[in-house]
Assembly symmetry: C2
Homo-oligomer: 395 residues x 2
């Protein structure tokens, strides 16, 4: 302790310590002088000193040796910075085809990143790949499982926020019968949180945008889902918020019996390809070829002005806009940000969606593609894990 | 000051004062002893004493004379309570047919309530009734305009949250050209906030439910709108959140050219009556009579088992459920609470809506009628005004 007597009550000391820790984080990775912390927190010098001492003792901060006397010739200033390895976090993105694992330190520096393909399908096999990815990430970071401060796992499907149980996951057969959170809790000594992948992608997208407004972040590829972020925080509602794949678009959408929602069946990447195939059959002169078509080819042909392709893209954009318009009216988001495979479609899809939403809503949101790549979901998982750690104060 | 030396920094003193004030409010209307405040806030006795002294001096708290020695024969305990008239707030509900004004004190006791009919239509006439209602409410409470600490005004239409300007208000001709907030700011010396009426009704409904979840509170009569409350706070989005009247239901809805939205034109109280008239024409044997029909009569006939009436109610319920289902999927609310004239429909409508939403969503919310009566919007306005005052701390 820097002072003989503790300043304030336990509650206040806790608040002061949190304020000092956050101020040091905001300055990271630069070490920061105590005088600067006094300015940033509005706390007195003795209060800051006491908080810093406690944080250094608890291993959250590291003290830097005064390098030299200050230019004014005064006493060399003590500087402190985050001790990153004090509370590293692990994120997992468990998909039907790939499992990614990453470890970040407290200052959000990536200590490890592992990406493993999932060969055969099935829940048991997938759980094995999860274990392997975790093991490799820990080895790469040189950490033991007991050193990890928080784990967040992204999974497709609907997750019960209270228990972490997966309630519905059409894309992974048997996945709902596996208790993923319990399995991981057995390995780690820290909180383990299981979260829907589109929700975590939404958090990552919100972090990129750094605005405080309302965001509908859509993941649109073979799967179709969304996450809602309001004021930088994930909106879960009763747990399944953002499940736009289950919106019922106008017209008849045959049930494929695989548990996928009607809108996903109508405008997922697979459906876009199928629509293009039909268009190619009906119009032999189109640039759309019946063989080797995928969603990317459709968007490319539309961008080049092919009439049939433009019509397919417009149909898809109209269905998407009609489906989400009621939610846009109720939520009034600042932006609809689209990620996933379809985000590579280019401006032809974006322009069409913007036009249709403008017609269907009162204050149309900005519609844009997410700049984030295939590690968006993992980034969101690590972000939530760090938030969890920062929410727990080391006092 | 109770102590010679102020405890803590200015920032901490502010936080402490806020904690003490909120603790006193939570105990209201009962006066509370300082020892109890120490227990409730976790602050030390000198800190609580200092905060109480400051609050009494600023006029927010009143000190009660120690009534008698305590049963144990010790020193009589000082007790404090809110000084209600320290910061009274004024709420207004400005509708095309009625203007209501109310004044609450800091402890949410109603000091005045006035309700005036609006004879002729038109923005100028309406503004005159507003002024009259304000004057009468102030007189009833025995207060001057300069004693009011916050004003919140409910209006139909879409309000720009930044400027308080009314951007769209189909039900009051000329209302968008009146600068209501500027007009009232000229009369009061305090913050004046203009807010959409459905939003304020939502706040009132959320207050009744006292849950911390997500709520879609629908106002459904001649007008159709909704407010979204998340964790006890109004969700505004970019400003126009909750405008369900503008959702486009399936099928063709002729534009009536009066600025009302498609869903409002399809299932507002007027449209329900019109649907019943058509049903009565097509089926002469029905209990629905072509003359003297209104929405209430339709619901009564359906409750009595009249086949044509049941069909009309089911159509209306299906249209409502289909329209809001995408928003329910995205928001995952705990409850959809319906207020306004249609809330008198009884269980026949509620049952049908619940059935259709169950079919269209993943985790269907509870659907129920609001227990609040015609002063719901005014209650919400006063609630927001009190929140505004509590958000400003007297230090």
């Amino acid at each position: 302790m820097a002072e003989e007597r503790a300043v304030g009550t336990p509650v206040l000391r806790r608040l002061n310590t949190a304020a000092v820790l956050r101020a040091v984080r905001d300055c990271a990775p630069e070490p920061v002088r105590l005088a600067e912390l006094v300015r940033l927190t509005g706390l007195t010098r003795p209060t800051v000193g006491q908080a810093v001492d406690g944080l250094v003792e608890a291993g959250w901060l590291q003290q830097h040796d005064p390098a030299a006397a200050s230019p004014q010739g005064g006493r060399p200033a003590v500087r402190v910075s985050l001790r990153g390895r004090a509370a590293p976090v692990l994120g997992l993105d468990v998909g039907p085809h790939t499992v990614s694992a990453g470890i970040d330190d407290l200052a959000a520096h990536r200590l490890a990143a592992v990406r493993l393909p999932v060969g055969r399908t099935g829940a048991g096999r997938l759980l094995g790949v999860v274990d392997e990815a975790v093991g490799r990430a820990l080895a790469e970071a040189g950490l033991g499982a007991d050193e990890i401060a928080a784990v967040v796992v992204a999974t497709p499907g609907i997750v019960d926020p209270a228990s972490g149980r997966i309630l519905l996951a059409p894309s992974v057969p048997g996945w709902t019968s596996v208790n993923l959170s319990e399995h991981l809790r057995g390995r780690f000594g820290c909180p383990v949180q299981v979260e829907n992948d589109a929700n975590l992608a939404a958090l990552a997208v919100a972090g990129e945008r750094s605005g405080a407004g309302t965001l509908l972040a859509v993941q649109w590829g073979e799967r179709l889902g969304a996450g809602v972020v309001i004021g930088g925080r994930l909106h879960r509602g009763t747990g399944s918020a953002g499940e736009i794949g289950f919106i019922r678009p106008p017209g008849d959408v045959p049930d494929t019996g695989d548990g996928r929602g009607p809108l996903e069946r109508a405008i997922g990447a697979e459906a876009i390809t199928e629509r293009a195939r039909r268009a190619a059959r009906d119009r032999p002169g189109t640039a759309l070829q019946a063989g080797g078509l995928d969603a990317a080819a459709v968007f490319a042909a539309a961008a080049a002005g092919d009439e049939a392709a433009v019509r397919v893209v417009d149909e898809v954009a109209a269905s998407f806009a009609q489906a989400i318009a009621p939610a846009v009216l109720v939520l009034a988001p600042d932006a609809v940000v689209i990620g996933g495979g379809v985000a590579r479609a280019g401006s032809v899809l974006l322009t069409a969606i913007t036009r249709h939403l403008g017609r269907l809503t009162l204050t149309p949101p900005v519609v844009e593609f997410s700049g984030l790549a295939e590690d968006t979901v993992l980034t969101g998982a690590l972000r939530l894990a760090l938030d969890e750690v920062w929410g727990r104060l080391p006092v």
